[in-house]
C-alpha cells in the first residue's frame, strides 16, 4: 500500500519498507479537522503521523519525495515531518478513502492549526493518493 525507499535503517522488504493498512493502523493514531482547498467544508483526517511512519522505517535524510498513484510527485523537506504534525491520513471523516475520494492515503498538513501553512507551497506538498515515499 505504501512503499518507503531510499535511506532506511530498517527496511522490511529488501531495500524498501512496505506498509499495508494493518501496519499503518498499528502505529499511534492522530487526527485533526481542517479546511482544505479540495473540499468545500472542513473535513476530519485521521491516521498515523508522517514522522512515526518514517521512524518505523528508520528513515533518515534531508528530503522526501512523495509519489502519488498518478505519478504526481512533490518534494517535502524531511524536517517538515518533525516541525509539523503532518498526517499520513487513511480515514476521511472516520471512513476509509477510496481512490476516487483521493485515497487510500493522503499526506495532509494541519492548515487550520498553523496559518502560515495556508500557502501554495504546503498545498502542493499535501500529496493525495499517496503511493510511495523516497527518502534522500
Amino acid at each position: 500500500m505504501l512503499t518507503i525507499s531510499g535511506r532506511l535503517r530498517s527496511p522490511n522488504d529488501g531495500t524498501v519498507a512496505n506498509f499495508d493498512m494493518p501496519m499503518l493502523e498499528r502505529l499511534p493514531q492522530s487526527h485533526f479537522t481542517t479546511q482544505t482547498p479540495w473540499y468545500a467544508q472542513p473535513r476530519k483526517f485521521s491516521g498515523p503521523l508522517l514522522r512515526d511512519v518514517l521512524a518505523a522505517a528508520g528513515a533518515h535524510g534531508t528530503m522526501l519525495r512523495a509519489v502519488a498513484l498518478n505519478d504526481y510527485w512533490v518534494e517535502i523537506p524531511f524536517e517538515d515531518s518533525a516541525r509539523h504534525d503532518v498526517l499520513v491520513a487513511r480515514l476521511l471523516d472516520d471512513k476509509p478513502m477510496a481512490v476516487r475520494d483521493k485515497g487510500p492515503l493522503f499526506v495532509i498538513y494541519p492548515f487550520d492549526a498553523r496559518p502560515e501553512l495556508r500557502s501554495p507551497v504546503y498545498y502542493s506538498r499535501s500529496a493525495w493518493q499517496l503511493r510511495a515515499i523516497e527518502v534522500r
Binding site: 481512490v99 476516487r100 501554495p120
Partner: protein
C-alpha cells in the same frame, strides 16, 4: 528709545505671527496624520489582497484543471488499450485510472475551482457532459457496478469519453486565461496601491519637509530673539554701569558741594553773630534770631548731606583712637540732658560694669550715632524716660561687641514703619514729620556709620509702647597705659614751661575757675570780659617790641560786645603776624559739631566744651604745644555715685567737681561755688527783667553765661535749668520761662545745701575770697 522700540517689536511678534504659525503647524500635523492613515489603509488593502490570493488558491486551480485534463488523457489511453482486442484486458489498471480521474473531477465541483472558471460559458455544459459520462461509466467501473466490465461495454462508452477531450481542454485553457487575468487584475490593483502608496510617501515627504522648514524657521527666530535679548541685556548692563557711574559722580559732587557750601556759610553765620552786636532794634533782633535759627538748621542739614554723600561715595573714613567710654557717655549725657529736661523726660545713661574702660573707636562718629538715637527718642517721647544702656555682649562669631541700647517710652512704631525706617527721607510717621522737622537722613547716616564700624543698628518697636534701638559695634579694648601717679609727674622728662594765657570770658565765676585751672597746670592767666577787649589786649601786647605776646587765647563763644567767633576773625585779620597767628581755643557750653565747625572755620585751633576739666585743658595744650604744654593727666576719677540717679538731674555733677578738685584746693572751689550762688539773686533779677521786657537775646545771654559757670563748677541742676532757659528763650511761652526762672531761684539754696553736704563749706572769710584778675 531704541530699547523701547526693540521691546515693542518683540512684543508684537508673538501676536499675529505666532497665531499664524500655530495654525500652520496644526494643519500640517493634521495632513501628516491623514497621510499616515492613508498609508496604513493602502498596506492593509495589499495584505487583504494577498490573503485572498492565498485562501482562494486560484493559481492552484489551474494546476488542478490541467491535472484533470492530464488524468483524462491517461484514462483515455488506458481505455483504448482495454478495448483493443489484441491486448489482454487489464481491468485493475483501468479501474485505477478511472478512479484517479473521477477524484480529479470531484475537485472541479469544488467551490474554489468554480470561482476560478465559473464565469466561463462552457463550464456548466462541460461539467454536465462529464457528470453524465461518469454516471454511465460508474455502471461498469463504479463502487457497485450494475454491469460486468466487458470490452463491448467499454467500446460503447468510448465515443462519449472521446467527446470530453475538447471541452476539458477548453476548460484548461479557460482556467489558465482566467487566472492570468486575475493575476493581471491583482497586479493592476497592487500597482495602483503602489502608486497611491508612492503618492502618500511623497506627500509625507513634503509634509516632513514643511515641518522641518517650520522648525528651522522657529529655531532661527529663537536665535534672533536670543541675540536681541542679549543685546538688550548688554545695553542694560552698560546703562546700569553708566547710571552707577553717574550716581557715584553725583555723590562725589554732592560731597564736594556741601563741603564748599559750608565755608561761605560759616562766614554768613559769623557775620550774623557780628550783626547782633551792632545795636539793633528789637524787631531786627527778632529777624536776626529767626535768620540764625534758619542758618543753624540749614547747617545741620548740610552736615547730614555731607555725611550721607561721603558715606555713599565711600570717602567717609573712621579715625579710631583710644576712647574712654564712660567719659564719652558723660559728654553725651551733658549734651542730651537739656533736651530731655526741656520735655520733662527722665534721661538715664548707664554702663554695665563689664564694659571696658577704654576701647578703640572713632569717638566723634560714635557720639554722632548716639546723639541721633537719643535725639529721636526724646523727639518722639512726650512722657516717661529715655534710657541709654551700654553693655558688652558676644557677637555671633564670639568676638566681644558693645551694645548701646536706646529705649524710650514714646509713640513707638508699627511693623510697616519699622520696615521703612532706615530708608532715606522717611520719618517714623509722616504726620509727625511736620511737627518734628529734620532731614530724615539721621537714621540712615547712623546705620551706615554703624556698619562702617563693623556693627549695625537694629530696632524693635510696638506702636504706642515705645521703641528700642540697639547700636552694635565691635569692642576693641585698649591695653591701659600705666597712669601717672601724680598730677605733676615728670615721666616725659620735659618740664612744661609756663604759658601766657589770655582768657576772654564774661562771667566772673568762670574767670575764677579758669584762673585756678591754669594755675594748677603751671600757667599764667590774663583776663578780658569780652571779645572786643581781647582783640585790643592782643594788639597791644603782641606789637610790643620786647615781645611777650600771649602763647594762647581761651575764647568764650558767648560774650557781650563781640562774641568769640567775631573776635577770632578780628584777631586773624590783625596786621601783626605774631598777633594774627596766636593759637585760639574755643570755650563753649554746647558740643554741637556745627558749633565746632563754626569755630574752626573762623580760624580757631581747638575747641573745649564746658565743663572744662583739667584733663581736657591739658590734652588741648598738649595738642598745641606738645609735651611742653602739659603732662598727661590721670583720667578723671570715676564718680562716686552712679552716673545718673533715677528721676531729675542731681543738684551736683560729682564728676565735674572731682575734676575741678584736681586743679584747685577744695576751699577755692568752695569759694567759687558760694560766690556763684551769692550772685544768684542778681542773675535771677536780670533774667526776670529780660522775661518782663520780652528780650529773648538778653535772656539767652544771661542764661548761657550762668550755664557755663554752673557747668564748670559742677552745679548740674542749675546748669540744666539755665540750659532750658537758654534753649527756650526764643520759643517757650513767657509763663513757661518764668517757671524756669523760678526753678533756678529755688535751686540756689538747695544747691548750696548740697555743696555743703559734699564738703564744700562756706569759707570763713568769704568776702576776701577769690581774687578777680584784671586785664593786664
Amino acid at each position: 528709545m531704541a530699547v523701547a522700540g526693540d521691546r515693542g517689536s518683540l512684543a508684537a511678534a508673538p501676536g499675529s505671527a505666532g497665531r499664524w504659525r500655530w495654525r500652520w503647524l496644526g494643519s500640517v500635523g493634521l495632513a501628516l496624520l491623514l497621510a499616515l492613515v492613508g498609508a496604513i489603509w493602502v498596506q492593509s488593502r495589499q495584505a487583504t489582497l494577498l490573503n485572498e490570493t492565498v485562501r482562494e488558491g486560484s493559481d492552484y486551480v489551474v494546476l488542478m484543471v490541467f491535472q484533470n485534463e492530464a488524468e483524462y488523457l491517461r484514462l483515455r489511453e488506458e481505455w483504448q488499450r482495454a478495448i483493443d482486442p489484441s491486448q489482454p484486458l487489464d481491468a485493475a489498471a483501468l479501474q485505477l485510472r478511472y478512479d484517479i480521474w473521477v477524484s480529479r473531477v470531484g475537485l472541479l465541483h469544488n467551490q474554489e475551482t468554480q470561482k476560478a472558471v465559473a464565469d466561463h460559458a462552457d463550464f456548466r455544459p462541460t461539467m454536465r457532459q462529464v457528470d453524465a459520462f461518469v454516471a454511465e461509466a460508474d455502471q461498469i467501473l463504479g463502487a457497485q457496478p450494475s454491469q460486468p466490465l466487458t470490452r463491448q461495454a467499454l467500446a460503447a462508452l468510448m465515443p462519449a469519453l472521446s467527446a470530453l477531450g475538447g471541452p476539458l481542454h477548453g476548460l484548461s485553457l479557460r482556467a489558465s486565461h482566467n487566472v492570468g487575468e486575475q493575476i493581471a487584475q491583482r497586479n493592476e490593483a497592487v500597482r495602483r496601491h503602489n502608486q497611491v502608496g508612492l503618492a502618500l510617501t511623497a506627500f509625507l515627504l513634503a509634509l516632513t519637509l514643511a515641518f522641518a522648514l517650520i522648525a528651522l524657521r522657529q529655531v532661527r527666530q529663537l536665535e534672533q530673539r536670543r541675540a536681541t535679548l542679549e543685546e538688550l541685556a548688554a545695553s542694560l548692563r552698560l546703562a546700569r554701569r553708566d547710571a552707577e557711574a553717574a550716581s557715584s559722580a553725583k555723590s562725589v559732587f554732592l560731597a564736594n558741594m556741601s563741603h564748599e557750601i559750608r565755608t561761605p556759610f560759616h562766614g554768613l553765620m559769623g557775620m550774623l553773630s557780628l550783626l547782633r552786636e551792632t545795636g539793633l532794634t528789637p524787631r531786627q533782633i527778632d529777624y536776626l534770631r529767626t535768620a540764625t535759627e534758619s542758618a543753624d538748621h540749614l547747617l545741620a542739614i548740610l552736615n547730614d548731606i555731607l555725611d550721607m554723600s561721603q558715606l555713599e561715595s565711600g570717602r567717609m573714613t573712621l579715625a579710631p583712637a583710644p576712647v574712654d567710654l564712660r567719659v564719652m557717655l558723660r559728654e553725651v549725657e551733658a549734651l542730651m540732658r537739656p533736651q530731655a529736661t526741656a520735655k520733662a523726660l527722665a534721661l538715664h545713661i548707664d554702663a554695665d560694669p563689664s564694659v571696658p574702660e577704654r576701647v578703640m573707636a572713632d569717638a566723634t562718629r560714635v557720639k554722632q550715632v548716639l546723639f541721633n538715637l537719643l535725639s529721636n527718642a526724646i523727639k518722639f517721647s512726650d512722657r516717661g524716660a529715655v534710657v541709654l544702656d551700654l553693655r558688652q555682649r558676644e557677637a555671633a562669631d564670639g568676638r566681644p561687641e558693645l551694645h548701646f541700647v536706646v529705649s524710650d517710652s514714646g509713640i513707638g512704631m508699627d511693623e510697616a514703619t519699622v520696615a521703612s525706617l532706615f530708608k532715606r527721607f522717611t520719618q517714623g510717621d509722616s504726620s509727625h514729620s511736620r511737627r518734628h522737622g529734620g532731614t530724615g537722613l539721621g537714621l540712615e547716616i547712623s546705620r551706615n556709620l554703624a556698619r562702617l564700624m563693623g556693627g549695625d543698628i537694629g530696632v524693635s518697636s510696638r506702636a504706642g509702647e515705645g521703641s528700642i534701638f540697639t547700636f552694635r559695634m565691635p569692642s576693641q579694648p585698649v591695653v591701659a597705659a600705666p597712669a601717672p601717679s601724680a598730677l605733676a609727674g615728670t615721666e616725659t622728662g620735659i618740664t612744661p614751661r609756663p604759658l601766657q594765657v589770655l582768657v576772654a570770658e564774661d562771667h566772673p565765676v568762670n574767670r575764677q575757675y579758669m584762673a585756678a585751672l591754669l594755675e594748677s597746670l603751671g600757667h599764667e592767666a590774663h583776663f578780658t570780659a569780652n571779645g572786643q577787649e581781647a582783640v585790643e589786649a592782643i594788639r597791644a601786647r603782641c606789637s610790643r617790641p620786647q615781645g611777650g605776646c600771649f602763647d594762647l587765647v581761651l575764647m568764650d563763644l558767648h560774650m557781650p560786645v563781640l562774641d568769640g567767633v567775631g573776635a577770632t576773625r578780628a584777631i586773624r585779620a590783625l596786621p601783626d603776624p605774631a598777633a594774627a597767628t596766636v593759637p585760639i581755643v574755643a570755650l563753649t557750653a554746647d558740643a554741637f559739631p556745627e558749633t565746632r565747625d563754626r569755630c574752626l572755620v573762623a580760624g580757631m585751633n581747638d575747641f573745649l566744651t564746658k565743663p572744662v576739666s583739667p584733663q581736657k585743658l591739658a590734652a588741648s595744650l598738649r595738642r598745641l604745644f606738645g609735651a611742653a604744654g602739659a603732662h598727661e593727666l590721670p583720667a578723671a576719677p570715676p564718680p562716686p555715685a552712679p552716673l545718673v540717679p533715677a528721676g531729675s538731674p542731681p543738684l551736683l555733677d560729682r564728676a565735674a567737681i572731682a575734676a575741678a578738685l584736681q586743679a584747685m584746693p577744695r576751699e577755692r572751689l568752695a569759694a567759687m561755688i558760694h560766690g556763684f550762688l551769692d550772685q544768684g539773686p542778681q542773675t535771677v533779677a536780670r533774667l526776670r527783667a529780660a522775661v518782663r521786657g520780652a528780650e529773648a537775646l538778653e535772656l539767652r545771654v544771661n542764661a548761657h553765661a550762668a550755664r557755663g559757670a554752673a557747668l564748670n563748677l559742677g552745679l548740674a541742676a542749675l546748669a540744666a535749668t539755665a540750659e532750658a532757659l537758654h534753649e527756650g528763650a526764643s520759643h517757650l511761652p513767657a509763663l513757661e520761662i518764668a517757671r524756669h526762672v523760678e526753678r533756678f531761684e529755688a535751686l540756689l539754696p538747695l544747691t548750696r545745701e548740697a555743696a555743703v553736704a559734699a564738703g564744700l563749706h562756706l569759707p570763713t572769710q568769704r568776702r576776701n575770697g577769690a581774687p578777680e584778675s584784671a586785664v593786664t
